[in-house]
C-alpha cells in the first residue's frame, strides 16, 4: 500500500518554485532517504507531505487522504521532526515527552521507554530543556516523537547535532519503528549513513525528482 503518492506536485514559496513538479511514491513500512543539495526542496517536500505548504498544482495523497483538502486527517497520523526541535524549553525533558504522550494516550511506561531509547536517564530527563546541550535537546525531541507512535515519520536532518552513540541509537529506533510498520522519510545530508538502512531514495535537484 502506498503511504505517499505525489504526482507532478508544484509548491511555490514567496514566488519561487520550491517544488517544481515532484512525483514520488513511498510504500508502507519503508525507510526512504530524501537527498539533494541545499535548497533542492528536501524540507519543503517534508512540509508538503505534512500539509504545511499550499499545493499549487498536481496531486498529493498521504495515508489515503488528499493533503490539499484533508490535511487535518493526515497530520493526526504523522510525526515530524524539523530543524527546530518543537520543545517547551522551560519544562524538563520528561515533561516534554509526557506532554506528547498524553496527546496520544500513551502510558508512563511508554514515556520511560522513549526516554531510555534516547539514553535520557533520570538526571537528564529531570533537567530543564533550556539547560541541555543542542544534541541532548535533539534526543528529547526524538523521544517525544518515539512516544507518539506515528504511522508516518518525517525527519529533517535528524542526525544533526548528535554524537556517534546517539546517532547509532537513532538508527536503531528507526529500524525498530520500520519493523513495527511505521513508514519513515528522512531528509539528510548524511546520505551514506541513512542509505545503509534505507529501502529507497528520492533525489531532488532544484525542486524536481530525478530518481527514485
Amino acid at each position: 500500500m502506498s503511504v505517499v503518492e505525489f504526482a507532478d506536485v508544484v509548491v511555490t514559496y514567496d514566488g519561487y518554485p520550491a517544488l517544481a513538479g515532484v512525483s514520488a511514491r513511498v510504500e508502507s513500512g519503508q525507510i526512504v532517504l530524501v537527498r539533494g543539495e541545499n535548497g533542492a526542496g528536501k524540507s519543503t517536500l517534508l512540509r508538503t507531505i505534512a500539509g504545511l505548504m499550499p499545493i499549487e498544482r498536481g496531486s498529493a495523497r498521504v495515508l489515503g487522504h488528499d493533503v490539499a483538502s484533508d490535511r487535518q486527517s493526515v497530520r493526526a497520523r504523522i510525526g515530524m521532526l524539523s530543524h527546530r526541535n518543537g520543545l517547551f524549553l522551560e519544562l524538563t525533558a520528561r515533561d516534554n515527552v509526557e506532554f506528547w504522550a498524553r496527546c496520544v494516550g500513551a502510558t508512563t511506561s511508554d514515556v520511560d521507554d522513549a526516554l531510555d531509547r534516547m539514553r535520557l536517564g533520570r538526571e537528564l530527563s529531570s533537567t530543564l530543556v533550556s539547560r541541555l546541550s543542542a544534541g541532548q535537546r535533539r534526543r528529547v525531541a526524538l523521544a517525544s516523537l518515539v512516544v507518539r507512535r506515528a504511522e508516518l515519520w518525517l525527519l529533517d536532518e535528524p542526525h544533526s547535532g548528535l554524537d556517534e552513540q546517539s546517532r547509532a541509537d537513532l538508527d536503531a529506533v528507526l529500524g525498530d519503528a520500520s519493523r513495527a510498520g511505521a513508514t519513515i522519510i528522512v531528509a539528510s545530508h548524511d546520505t551514506d549513513r541513512v542509505a545503509k538502512f534505507a529501502h529507497s531514495t528520492i533525489t531532488l535537484v532544484t525542486g524536481r525528482t530525478v530518481g527514485s
Binding site: 497530520r75 518543537g86 507518539r148
Partner: protein, 230 residues
C-alpha cells in the same frame, strides 16, 4: 494512536502553561512586583485621598491590563521559541483546545494578579467594603478577568506569529479591551462606593462584562485555529 478530544487538549495545555509558570515564577517574581509598583506610583502621582479614591477602581484595572501584556507575551514565547506551537499544529492538535487551555491558564494567572491588585487598591487608596460590595467585586473580577483572558489569547496568538510582537500586542489588544476596562472600572466604583455610587448600579456593568467574555470565547473558538494555521 488514540486522539485526545478538545477538552483533553485544553487540560493538557492549561497544565503545561501553569507548570511553566510554577517553575519560572515570573508572575510572582516579576509581574506582581511590576503591577504593585504601578499602583504605588499612581498613589504618589495622584497625591490626595479624594482624587485617589475616585480613581482607585480605574487604576487597579489599568495596572491589570498593563501587567497582562507581560503574561501573554511569555505564554506565547514558551510555545514559539523552539517551534512547539508549530509542532502542535503539525501533529494535528485541535487548536480550539489550545485556545481554551491557554485561556484557562491565563485566566488563573490574571485572577491571582487581580486579587492582589484589588487588595492593594483597598489598602493604598483607603477603600472599605460591605458584604454586598464584596460579592459584586467577586463577580466583576471573575467576568472581567475571563474577558481579558479570552481576548489576550486570541490576539496573543496573532501577535506571536508576527514580527515586532512586543509592540504589536498592546496596539491590537488595548482598543479591544477598552469596554472591559470601562465596564470593570465603573462596576468597581459601585463596589467601592466612589462618589456616592450604589452597589446596585454595578450589576448592569457586570452583565456587560459577562456578555463580552462569552462573545470573545465564541469568537476565539471560531477564529483561533485559522489564525494559527495562516
Amino acid at each position: 494512536m488514540k486522539r485526545v478530544n478538545v477538552l483533553g487538549i485544553a487540560r493538557m495545555i492549561a497544565r503545561k502553561d501553569l507548570k511553566v509558570e510554577w517553575r519560572g515564577r515570573v508572575l510572582v517574581n516579576q509581574v506582581l512586583p511590576f503591577a504593585a509598583l504601578v499602583m504605588v506610583m499612581f498613589a504618589f502621582a495622584l497625591d490626595g485621598d479624594d482624587l485617589l479614591q475616585r480613581a482607585a477602581s480605574g487604576l487597579a484595572w489599568m495596572a491589570t491590563v498593563l501587567s497582562m501584556f507581560v503574561v501573554i507575551s511569555r505564554s506565547f514565547l514558551v510555545d514559539t521559541e523552539d517551534g512547539a506551537l508549530d509542532a502542535m499544529r503539525t501533529a494535528g492538535l485541535d487548536m480550539r483546545g489550545v485556545y481554551v487551555g491557554k485561556s484557562m491558564a491565563l485566566f488563573l494567572q490574571l485572577l491571582v494578579l487581580n486579587v492582589v491588585l484589588i487588595a492593594l487598591s483597598l489598602l493604598l487608596y483607603h477603600v472599605s467594603l460591605t458584604f454586598e460590595s464584596a460579592v459584586l467585586l467577586v463577580a466583576i473580577v471573575v467576568c472581567a478577568t475571563a474577558g481579558l483572558a479570552f481576548v489576550g489569547v486570541l490576539y496573543g496568538g496573532l501577535a506571536a506569529l508576527s514580527k515586532g510582537r512586543e509592540t504589536l500586542l498592546p496596539l491590537l489588544v488595548l482598543p479591544v479591551v477598552a469596554p472591559v476596562v470601562i465596564g470593570a472600572a465603573r462596576a468597581t466604583e459601585s463596589a467601592y462606593g466612589t462618589a456616592g455610587a450604589r452597589v446596585g448600579e454595578g450589576w448592569p456593568w457586570v452583565g456587560l462584562l459577562f456578555v463580552f467574555a462569552v462573545a470573545f470565547a465564541i469568537a476565539g473558538l471560531l477564529s483561533f485555529p485559522s489564525l494559527i494555521e495562516e
